[in-house]
Amino acid sequence: MTNLLRHHLFWPVAALVALLVANTVASPGFLAITVRDGHLFGAPIDILRTTAPLLLVALGMTLVIATRGIDLSVGAVVAVSGAVALSHIASSPNPDSPVTVLTAIGLALALCLVLGVWNGFLVSVLGIQPIIATLILMTAGRGVAMLITGGMITTVNSAPFKVLGSGFWLGLPVAAVLAFGVFAVVAFVVRRTALGMLLEATGINPAASRLSGVRSKTLTWTVYAAAGLFAGLAGLLISADTMAADANNAGLFIELDAILAVVIGGTALSGGKFNLSGTLVGALVIATLERTVTVVGISPLVTPLFMALVVIAVTLLQSPRMRERLTAATRRPVATTPPEPQSAARPDSTEVKAR
């Protein structure tokens, strides 16, 4: 029982279950899934679909955060991606041609990859703080998106593109299949190759990693590029859902939601150990929360308030001071690190802070 309680996914999953229960109480048919035209329908399926873009963005964000970084620009990248894809389709004489759509997707993803590489360059080569480096693109990115769309909300009709947002595959929404598929592949790659461990080593102790031969700069650069790419894919899903490229509002605040998903999932913003399964649960919690608010009959506009309460609760529970209190309260014998004599013998000021 205590093992279960101490499992890193316990609290996020508990939150998710609680939300689902609350929904079922408020609307008994909530969990029901029906089959219509061979497609699955129902609130859970909807939640999966709305989670899709957030999951992709949160995936990139988790990797970036693991290296002690943060990427504020993903929302703007989402907007750029949609703008590029839809503008290309709109300007094409044949919007329904698969070639047009594939070119549009290719262009959008390529540009987003470049934007990610740009962020990575600022952070790993120029050594600019991640917050500031990505703030630049966060500000300018939406301007670029508007430049591409000419300030209009570009709407198009293109059946192949629409599939991305609202199509079904094997009875499941294409968006969800894509996002969860990418997520699964990345999670597999990260854990089955040494990428995850090297990222964590870089995030926990950059100096030691360098001396151990880890190419930290390249890794850092890679994760920002990946975050850009995933945000681009998320942008495609979002724009295909509405079939409109809204440079102002597409992906607005998605960077904050993604950071929240990561934090709820138990990955500390200070970098190092990360866990992608937590991020998955975190993204589901956020999507379900948004859904819950409507189901329970509160205005969706109030969602931020609930989000705030969740963030405050989670971060306070994670804060060192709260941990101390909790461990003191449960009086569990905790393995503590004995301060080493040589570190004590050195005039390092961190020890002053500990007081």
Partner: protein
């Protein structure tokens, strides 16, 4: 100069500080008298900084009493200590470089007018304080625009504002040049003559002899003794610091077997004129397979800096290196690693272990980094590798999934060694691998080093403990003042010989 009649202003008796399970200080005494410069001596890990922190309230002693002006006190922190006249100036200048000199001196005791700062009075008062230090800098200039030496003096200036009875200077001279040190000493003597008790920590022996009146020597957290500087020859001081007692001498049998190196062998690594400005003067060094080379020298002698140049941790700005006869460029740790060079830093916590990862991950980190992320080591191979090192080095707990931060210092060190051994290096550079770990683990590591060399590895071994270096080295390179001053055969070397070289030919 030393007024034995005056009662001590600080009396620390029987001070013990524990960081379970380690006893960092064990029943240490320290007496400071008004109007003296008192040196606190000891090698790394001897407990100097711990003693200072016990006095200023950063650490709370588990035993012992501290009296200041005859009143028993336990300060709550540096601010409290300062309020009672005990000020500390740290090695790294702990001031705010972005503020003006005047603010750095006066903030906390600044003159006010109309509820706000009175800048003009503040500058004027700061200028008076600066003048006492013989500093004629503009109090309105920002502190960061001045040299480290000036910043150091400003820090002392701040410490002496108000009622300062005791001034603690922790390694104040480590980044100063000769003229700057001379200036600092003038200031220190002036303060002493004003009746301030100065506790001076430095690893430069000549400086200690130049300026101090008395000294207290610590070793391994214990008091060696209190001495009048003038009565203690350098040679004896070094022996006190490094530790030489009869039983240690007997134990100092050479662990390594001495095999004569066949003439004409190509060195594994050859450094010619390798150096880096401000770090270590150009030196020549040849390392051979199957040989342990010890680096002897006091803290700050350049022993660590030399090791860092050999391993790509720092980039040399002069000289060449050849690996097995071929020119080799050691520009990054990774480049050195690809040539088969491994380096464990003296800063185990900051530059060695990744404390949030497990024992298993820490052991395979180096090997995996070299393979690249795309070619993961097969899990089975990892498990075997890790299990074999845990077994071979006796890592406790013998749990590959234990978080490294939950291991003791000695076991963390073994994990670090395992990380590098797993990469099958040809040259292993160990900087203070035995510092701060218990005797048993120490002996194990020494034995391991000897075995590795016997198997043909080339090892560079750095330790603050001279007997340890003597015991396991085939050859010893001696460093002093950031310069390699001698290279002697480990077999024939005696403690006395090396101590003389370290102390600079016995000259005080």
């Amino acid at each position: 100069m030393t007024q034995q009649t005056t009662p001590p202003v600080v009396e620390m008796t029987g001070i013990s500080v524990e960081f379970p399970p380690v006893k960092a200080l064990d029943g240490v005494d320290l007496h400071l008298r008004p109007g003296e410069i008192h040196a606190l001596m000891g090698e790394n890990g001897a407990g100097k900084s711990t003693l200072i922190k016990a006095l200023t309230g950063i650490h709370s002693p588990t035993e012992g009493t501290i009296r200041v002006d005859g009143v028993e006190r336990r300060f709550t922190g540096p601010a409290d200590a300062r309020a009672h006249g005990v000020s500390t100036v740290y090695q790294e200048v702990n001031l705010c470089g972005n503020l003006t000199v005047a603010e750095n001196i006066m903030l906390g005791a600044e003159p006010r007018r109309l509820g706000g700062l009175h800048w003009r009075a503040m500058r004027r008062q700061a200028a008076t304080h600066l003048e006492r230090m013989g500093l004629s800098i503009d109090p309105a200039s920002s502190l960061g625009s001045h040299s480290l030496a000036v910043q150091q003096l400003v820090a002392i200036c701040r410490a002496t504002v108000g009622d300062c009875k005791v001034l603690i200077l922790d390694e104040p001279t480590s980044s100063l040049d000769t003229d700057e040190v001379a200036h600092l000493f003038t200031v220190m003597r002036a303060l002493r003559d004003d009746g301030v008790a100065i506790l001076f920590v430095s690893h430069f022996l000549d400086q200690v002899y130049e300026v101090s009146d008395r000294m207290t020597v610590l070793r391994n957290g214990r008091l060696v003794g209190e001495f009048i500087t003038a009565d203690l020859p350098t040679h004896e001081l070094v022996q006190h610091m490094i530790g030489r007692s009869m039983d240690v001498l007997e134990a100092a049998e050479h662990v390594v077997e001495r095999a004569g190196r066949p003439a004409g062998t190509t060195p594994l690594l050859q450094a010619v004129g390798l150096g880096r400005k401000g770090s270590v003067q150009p030196f020549d060094l040849e390392l051979y397979e199957g040989e342990v080379v010890g680096l002897a020298g006091l803290l700050g002698s350049g022993r660590t800096e030399l090791a860092r140049l050999l391993t790509g941790a720092d980039r040399a700005d002069a000289g060449q290196t050849r690996m097995a006869g071929k020119p080799a460029r050691l520009r990054t740790p990774r480049a050195a690693m690809d040539l088969g060079i491994a380096y464990t830093s003296e800063d185990r916590k900051g530059e060695g272990v990744v404390d949030g990862l497990t024992v298993r991950e820490n052991i395979v980190l180096g090997l995996q980094a070299r393979r690249g992320w795309m070619r993961p080591l097969p899990r089975k191979q990892v498990d075997e590798l890790v299990a074999s090192y845990i077994e071979q080095l006796g890592i406790r707990p013998a749990d590959p999934e234990a978080l490294l931060r939950n291991l003791s210092g000695g076991n963390q060190q073994k994990v670090l060694l395992a990380r590098w051994l797993a990469t099958a290096p040809r040259l292993l550079v160990l900087d203070e691998p035995t510092r701060g770990i218990d005797v048993g683990a120490k002996a194990e590591i020494q034995k391991l080093v000897a075995d590795l060399a016997a198997d043909g590895m080339s090892v560079v071994f750095i330790s603050a403990e001279l007997e340890e270096v003597l015991r396991i080295s085939h050859r010893i390179a001696v460093l002093r003042d950031r310069r390699k001053v001698a290279e002697i055969d480990g077999g024939g070397a005696t403690m006395d010989q090396v101590v003389d070289l370290i102390a600079g030919g016995g000259a005080a």
